[in-house]
Amino acid sequence: MDRPQTSDRRPLSVLRRSSSGFLKAIGAIVWKDLAAELRSRELLSAMLVFALLVILIFNFALELDPVTRRVATPGILWATFAFAGTLGLNRSMAVEKDRGCLDGLLLAPVDRSAIYFGKTISNLAFMLIVEVVVLPVYSVLYNTNLFNPGLIVVILLGSVGYVAVGTLLSSMAVQTRTRDVLLPILLFPVVIPILIAAVKASSGFLQGLDVTEVMPYINLLIVYDVIFTAVAYMVFDYVVEE
């Protein structure tokens, strides 16, 4: 490694240099996103209103009988989560880009994957909040019991995978002029495996199938989550750099 050439450099007295910097940077980004959202409520309100409108429209448009309703529920739920999630991902990165804040983050002396993990955790928190609100509303509107531990696990795993890919792709899309249109075009083909696995697993739990029958889809979700989080960790630095 090259050493500094100047011998009389001023000491950087105010800087801490510890191995916990990576985790602290992630924590700072999550805190910043949640604090800013608590004030503005722009992102969450948009996601929530959109998600509630989608399930409301489906409710009136489909007029399902109780049996068909149970079959259609996973599809309607995951379509709602996916569309609302796209809104949130776009907005979350647009906030960073519009005032040059993404440059502010990239200028920090930490591994840039800390930015990725920080944004991913914030986006996941927003998505989970929307899901926590949508599930009871859906239960009431469609007269379907969704309080199933298996379903909760599937929603958690599906959301992690969706947000892991979505955060990476939104950081790519945000650098283009057509970011609002580009993100869904890039994202939906990539998350098809996770949506299929999530719908199948959710359907299995709602129909009361044995866990062993649902397990292949759960495993697919876990593998997808691990692979795409690892890929995003490796490529994020290149994605955000010019």
Binding site: M1, K24, A35, R39, E241
Partner: protein, 232 residues
């Protein structure tokens, strides 16, 4: 403090920087002048490790880019025409956030010092989106020096500021420069940089086409120097 040799930057088929050589000594305040599209911002983004050079060697604070980018960023502060601040956070929260990702020690005390320096102590709990453009730019300077960097890069910091705000910003820039930091600033406002900088470099057609110290230039000659550099 900054050493650049034969720097080339291409965007696809377009070459923006064509073998640029540039050197800045410790404590120097260099004004980088040039017409729109000359590549000033591209050059500063490379120095800031936000963009990779296509060819050439770049050293900032003794560290090589891009291989030692994290070390460079630890020693670097950047102010651009965008404030790089979050409108939905207060002034204090913005500084706390940046202080945490930079790993600044004794952050509360440092934030007090910075807010005092940029004259925003009384507005510390106000949301940044309620600030005027001038106040945001002063806070942006506070953000840039929060971690006590050795090198500061200013990319047209006066953009969008009225006369009073520009004067206040210049006063602040003078104070920051007086603390022994190395500064490179791009600007179109020749009169303002003439007051601030100790050296003037003109970036034209992808290279430094002329360079002069303030002493060599004399007073009120910067416009002639700039025109000759562009004509040559």
């Amino acid at each position: 403090m900054i050493a650049v040799k034969k720097l080339v930057k291409r965007f696809g088929l377009k070459t923006v920087l064509r073998g640029l050589d540039f050197e800045v000594q410790e404590g120097e305040f260099v004004a980088l002048l040039g017409p729109n599209g000359a590549g000033k911002t591209t050059f500063l983004r490379i120095l800031a490790s936000l963009s990779r050079p296509t060819l050439g060697e770049v050293r900032v604070a003794g560290f090589r880019l891009p291989v030692q980018a994290a070390a460079v960023r630890r020693n670097l502060g950047v102010v651009s025409h965008l404030p790089l601040l979050y409108g939905d956070l207060t002034a204090e929260e913005n500084l706390r956030f940046y202080g945490r990702i930079y790993g600044v020690l004794d952050l509360r005390k440092r934030i007090d010092e910075i807010l005092e320096l940029v004259g925003l102590t009384s507005r510390r709990r106000d949301l940044v989106r309620t600030f005027s453009r001038g106040m945001q730019q002063r806070l942006a300077i506070g953000r840039a020096i929060l971690h006590d960097p050795e090198v500061l890069l200013f990319d047209e910091p006066h953009t969008g500021l009225d006369q009073d705000a520009c004067d206040m910003l210049d006063h602040l820039l003078g104070e920051v420069a007086g603390q022994g930091r190395t500064i490179v600033m791009t600007s179109h406002d020749l009169a303002r940089v003439e007051e601030l900088a100790s050296r003037f470099d003109v970036l034209s057609r992808g290279v430094i086409s002329a360079s002069s110290s303030r002493n060599d230039l004399g007073k009120n000659n910067i416009l002639d120097f700039y025109r000759q550099a562009l004509a040559g």
